[in-house]
């Protein structure tokens, strides 16, 4: 079961994980991105994620298909939140299962790195000082 989805509501990690079940799999690696209370030395209160949904879905699916080709995996599932998130909320969930842990770790890391580079989703941080700003993939501020 391989899929990429967007969710406007909190991600249910337990449901996502069920998609990875496979009697041939010996290793499962899950990455979760959580909203942190700090970034680049500033106190963060809240985040908004905005997505260009049709392209985000097709890019996300393409990334998962590429991972299935590159790595010896059993299953992959990934979901990214959109909308407003509070500190501690899950922003992204990426799960893979594989026969061996080498492939599982390598694929997991590759998928989240490539999601962050290619999928059209933007993060807007709201800071304690009342300011907010759109961020780059490296979490530095964007000048529009």
């Amino acid at each position: 079961m391989n899929r990429f989805s967007l969710s406007e509501t909190p991600i249910d990690a337990a449901i996502e994980k069920q998609r990875l079940d496979d009697a041939g799999a010996g290793a499962c690696v899950i990455f979760e991105g959580w909203v942190r209370n700090h970034n680049e030395g500033r106190v963060v209160h809240q985040l908004d994620y905005q997505a260009y949904a049709p392209l985000a879905l097709s890019e996300g699916k393409a990334i998962i298909n590429e991972a299935m080709i590159q790595f010896a995996l059993r299953s992959v599932s990934a979901v990214h939140r959109t909308g407003s998130l509070a500190i501690g909320d899950m922003a992204v969930w990426v799960g893979v299962s594989a026969d061996h842990r080498d492939a599982a770790y390598n694929a997991s890391r590759w998928i989240i790195d490539v999601i962050k580079l290619r999928v059209p989703i933007w993060k807007n941080e709201h800071y304690a000082d009342g300011e907010s700003g759109w961020l780059h993939p490296d979490n530095s501020p964007v000048e529009s």
């Binding site: 049709p54 392209l55 097709s58 059209p120 933007w122 529009s144």
Partner: protein, 79 residues
Amino acid sequence: MKVKLLYFASLADRAGRTEESVETHTSDPATLYDDVRQRHGFSLGKERVRVAVNGQIVDWNHPLNEGDEIVFLPPVSGG
């Protein structure tokens, strides 16, 4: 011809809108971005922007057609 532009994130903030319809005589996204950039005062150069037409990432010289939905994508920051 008439095309539809969608704006996201920092470009939407700078443009003050999330979409607009424009009449254009340009036949490729590169020239269209130069126009739009000047009009809205975007500081991001093309080297830091990607372009999507009708939901697909395309090259800057991709031919444009009447009714296309065009999105200039600022650097993404998901995850």
